[in-house]
């Protein structure tokens, strides 16, 4: 099923090649198509060239890129004008399709993109249970702490967030089932198709798909009464203000941010201020030293390490 979703958005010639390769799609991380350059896969953490014939890599053509754009936009590029401005489109299953080409600028701002020459497919991975080990550290008396997941790109922060949402929504031995509101600006958390989440997000989850984070959080608070609000990749000033607002409305927050450590986030404008004010009660820092999604450490609001990744589970630093 997962393989089908990915294959469906690829040009037919590449689709056939990948079918022949008999790939394990759970190991496939990225597919890189660059016009007139060899087709490249990131598979199990390593680069892999796909051969057209033995020893001769498949060269991506202009028609391949055009066909793929038709498929990812479902023949309706106009419907993705806003996403194109950001440089990527999210397709069914939450896979992110990044694009590069010539940017159209209007009034000093990116309006759209043309002459697209590179397409990068980043697979969304749903790993049920990957958040199991964080729950002892982010809950107390079956209640959740405000939690910030800090991670560099491609280290599994969205995957972790998704599983946390699922478990909080369904309830587990650490937290009773709670109403979760998700603002999925880039459609990566839920992988929504026509408004319905394709990934498992639990039975008490309401999702606002494709909605700007700041507006979405306020909308959810006013309309759906969430106990928990979850957002991915905060950073902009308005996002941080909305997070602060949500925290003062009695909601618990789970958010992710790009970064390598708590110290680094403290130096970020606006968001750094929230850390100095100790708004977040727990920080989960991810890395990919050994494998993607490695938990390097979990810290409390005073930045004291309460779990270190290379130690055995539940071992406090």
């Amino acid at each position: 099923m997962r393989g089908d979703t990915i294959l469906n958005i690829l040009p037919r010639s590449i689709r056939l090649l990948l079918k022949k390769e008999r790939l394990d799609f759970s190991l496939l991380q990225e597919i890189k198509l660059r016009m007139y350059r060899p087709l490249l896969l990131v598979y199990g953490g390593e680069e892999l060239f796909v051969d057209r014939v033995r020893g001769e890599p498949y060269i991506v053509t202009k028609e391949d890129i055009k066909e793929m754009l038709d498929y990812i936009s479902r023949y309706s590029l106009y419907a993705y004008e806003q996403e194109m401005k950001q440089g990527f489109i999210t397709v069914e299953g939450g896979h992110r399709i990044g694009m590069a080409g010539q940017v159209i600028v209007d009034g000093g701002r990116v309006k759209n993109m043309k002459y697209i020459s590179s397409v990068n497919v980043r697979m969304s991975h749903e790993i049920l249970g990957c958040a199991d080990k964080v729950f002892p550290y982010i809950t107390r008396q079956r209640q959740l702490y405000h939690t910030l997941i800090i991670s560099p790109p491609r280290c599994g922060k969205t995957t972790l967030l998704r599983d946390m949402i699922r478990q909080i929504s369904d309830g587990n031995s650490y937290v009773r089932g709670k109403t979760v509101g998700v603002v999925d600006e880039r459609s990566e958390i839920g992988g929504c198709y026509m408004g319905v989440a394709q990934n498992h997000l639990g039975i008490r989850t309401d999702i606002l798909d494709g909605c700007p984070k700041a507006e979405g959080m306020i909308m959810l608070i006013r309309s759906m009464g969430p106990e928990i609000i979850a957002v991915d990749e905060i950073g902009a000033q308005e996002d941080v203000h909305a997070v602060a607002y949500a925290m003062h409305c009695g909601c618990k927050l789970i958010a992710t941010v790009h970064g390598a450590s708590v110290e680094e986030i403290k130096r970020k404008p606006v968001l750094g201020g929230m850390l100095l004010e100790k708004c977040f009660e727990r920080y989960i820092v991810l890395g990919n030293d050994e494998k993607i999604g490695d938990i390097l450490g979990i810290y409390d609001r005073n930045e004291t390490c309460i779990f270190q990744g290379n130690q055995t589970e539940k071992e406090v630093c």
Binding site: I9, Y71, S73, R74, Y75, S76, E81, N112
Partner: protein
């Protein structure tokens, strides 16, 4: 007796032929008005919901009558299937398959086929303008048919009656 019966049959057939042509014209007019409604919905779905074309076709297809229902649902399925071909090709083929036998006039089918070359592009404003242009042309066609319709219908009826009478006289 036989001659009289034959004359009545020939006359009746000629009158029915006239009536059939008049009905065809009325049907053509009704179909064009129906297509206009359909494209108003399409335009508003593009403008306000910014939905992809396959979703719009499936949505509209479920609430319209044949042959547009099959045409739109089938086209939506083909786009969703992502099995090759440009949008213009798929659009043109689907019109040939599902609307060729409809009451739409030939020139309207050609115009509809041409619209496919301007749909699915990157610019939202261009999409709306393309549908607007098609609707303007469709309005002009509807107006033209409406203007001549009464005269033409009367003409078909008269031709049926007069033609029938003429044949009867000639045969007698």
């Amino acid at each position: 007796m036989l001659k009289a019966a034959g004359s009545i049959l020939v006359f009746g057939a000629a009158v029915l032929l006239g009536e059939w042509k008049a009905t065809e014209l009325r049907e053509q007019y009704a179909q064009l008005e129906y297509v206009r409604q359909l494209f108003y919905i399409l335009q508003s779905e593009i403008r306000y919901a910014r939905s992809p074309l396959n979703e719009i076709f499936s949505y509209i297809g479920n609430s319209v009558r044949e042959p547009y229902k099959t045409w739109l649902l089938e086209l939506g399925r083909k786009l969703e299937g992502r099995n090759g071909g440009t949008f213009a090709d798929l659009w043109k083929t689907s019109i040939g398959e599902h609307l060729a036998a409809s009451a739409l006039p030939e020139n309207e089918l050609l115009r509809l086929e041409e619209l496919g070359e301007r749909l699915g592009l990157a610019d939202l404003e261009l999409q709306i303008r393309a549908v607007e242009l098609y609707l303007t042309q469709l309005d002009a066609s509807i107006l033209e048919i409406r203007k001549d319709m009464k005269i033409k219908i009367r003409l078909y009826h008269c031709l049926g009656i007069m033609g029938g009478l003429l044949i009867v006289i000639l045969l007698l």
